[in-house]
Amino acid sequence: MQRHDFIEWADQYLRGELTAEDAIAFESFCRTEPSYSEVFEQHRLFVQDLEKNEMRHAFQQALIAEGNAFEATKYHKTGQKTTSLWSKLQVNAGVAAAVALISVFSTLWITGYFANIKKANTDYSALRREMNSVKKNVTEQHKAIQNINNDKNKNSSSIHFGATGFMLTRDGYVVTNYHVINGADSVHLQNVKGQAYKAQIVYTDPQKDLAILHIADPSFKILKNIPYTFKKQSSELGEDIFTLGFPRDEAVYGQGYLSSNTGYAGDTIAYQISIPVNPGNSGGPVLDNQGNIIGIISGKQKGIDGAAFAIKTKELVETLNKIPADSLKGNIFLNNKNMLSTLPRTEQIKKLQDYIYIVKVF
């Protein structure tokens, strides 16, 4: 038997392809021929090694593949984790941001931050007087604390603002600034003698910052003829002027000159005047030496000395012409007979002060 035939036979035996008789024949052949038996044994082990080698190789490849796959999934997983975390927290983050924004802006709004911004953005200050507001607040708090157990709710109305106003006609029409009576519950006018009358708002002109009031009180007696006149032509720079107003509860005289033909930021409806004015002067008349009213004090510029503003009389006349006839009780006829022109200043003021009122806004 040739060697390669024997190996072929052995392969068939190892693969179990032989019939039972043939297998027995192969085994007995090996027993009788020890040299072939050795060859067979060697061949068997070699084939086994070959098989094992292949399996081991396959295992190693699988291991390496698994290692790479593991690494890939690890990185993939971490990526997935962050995205899923974000998608999970997206809603929460949105809600948190919304809450933060709402609380920030509501806090700012409640504390009046925006109102302050608005105020701070302009250095124009309207000259109405906040009447003893701090003191009053404190006393009201005291009252509230004292009455904390009393259920009696006292309806104590409070003065919010004070300003100045003056007579247009002897039958009770008074002019003041719009910003004084803006948002008012009721308006009262008080003259130098201390008599107070309730007034009605007849007409307002927010653009020109003017308001026309009418004294509606039955106790009001029609006055003597108004001593001053209204000068509709524009006045000259450097003209001496004076005013009378109520920056406090007593009438205060102020004197100065007309310093510019335009008002705040080039506003053509007003003059710039150089008179010391203070909160409470708003609505006060500006008169020249002859006792003609040339304007109405409305405000001043912060941070600049002697820059107060007065609305021109011409604008007042225009406003009066715009008032619908229905809202008037009879026409407004402005006085044109000046009784002050020849008088010294002190006399002028004496005559003047009866026609100038403290405007109290509640």
Partner: protein, 196 residues
């Protein structure tokens, strides 16, 4: 949460893994990776190793386990994790000493000897050598001999199929060719082992 699930080998027992490895089951390989790799990787990375080195060491340790399982009746004398950890540590220390970084290697060698790991490693190295030679011999053998032998002895293809696949005129030719290839392979293999 997922990490905890990876560390705890609750779903599969050591014995199941051992059985899977001996059959070359890819699911067993997957489990081994999931359960033991993080621990061993951390050990190596904490001891001045890189992720890639950890991967190499771990794969070699698994091969040590494979050789141990396939060459003798494997008994679980310790937990599979302990075994793999000890082997990986030993292999890593060897690599470190080879690199010349032999600081604090003495304290752990004791407990590894207790586990008889040195024997396993020696056997692993021998097997590695043998199979290296076999692989080299196979690659030296070249085509079509290599594929022919693999198809016959490993894939268990019939002589008829081999004849058709390789285009021999009859099965006897194919048988002769197979015999020649096998003889050449044996020659290369035993010559190279004699050289060693």
């Amino acid at each position: 949460m997922s990490k905890i699930r990876q560390i705890l080998p609750t779903e599969i027992s050591d014995q199941e893994i051992v059985d899977g490895v001996s059959k070359g089951d890819s699911r067993a390989i997957n489990k081994i990776y999931k359960i033991y790799f993080p621990l061993i990787s951390r050990m190596i990375v904490n001891n001045s190793g890189s992720e890639d080195e950890a991967k190499d060491i771990f794969q070699e340790a698994v091969m040590v386990l494979y050789d141990k399982i396939t060459q003798q009746k494997f008994e679980l004398s310790s937990k599979l994790g302990t075994f793999l950890y000890a082997v990986s540590r030993r292999l890593w220390l060897k690599q470190l000493t080879r690199k010349g970084n032999s600081a604090n290697t003495s304290d752990i060698s004791d407990f590894e000897d207790l586990l008889g790991i040195e024997d396993d490693l020696e056997r692993h190295e021998e097997t590695e050598l043998k199979f290296d030679q076999m692989n080299k011999a196979l690659s030296q053998l070249g085509e079509p001999c290599q594929t022919l032998l693999k198809d016959f002895y490993i894939a268990n293809m019939s002589m008829q199929d081999i004849r058709d696949k390789f285009g021999y005129t009859n099965t006897d030719n194919a048988k002769t060719q197979k015999y020649k290839c096998l003889q050449r392979l044996k020659k290369i293999f035993f010559n190279s082992s004699l050289e060693k």
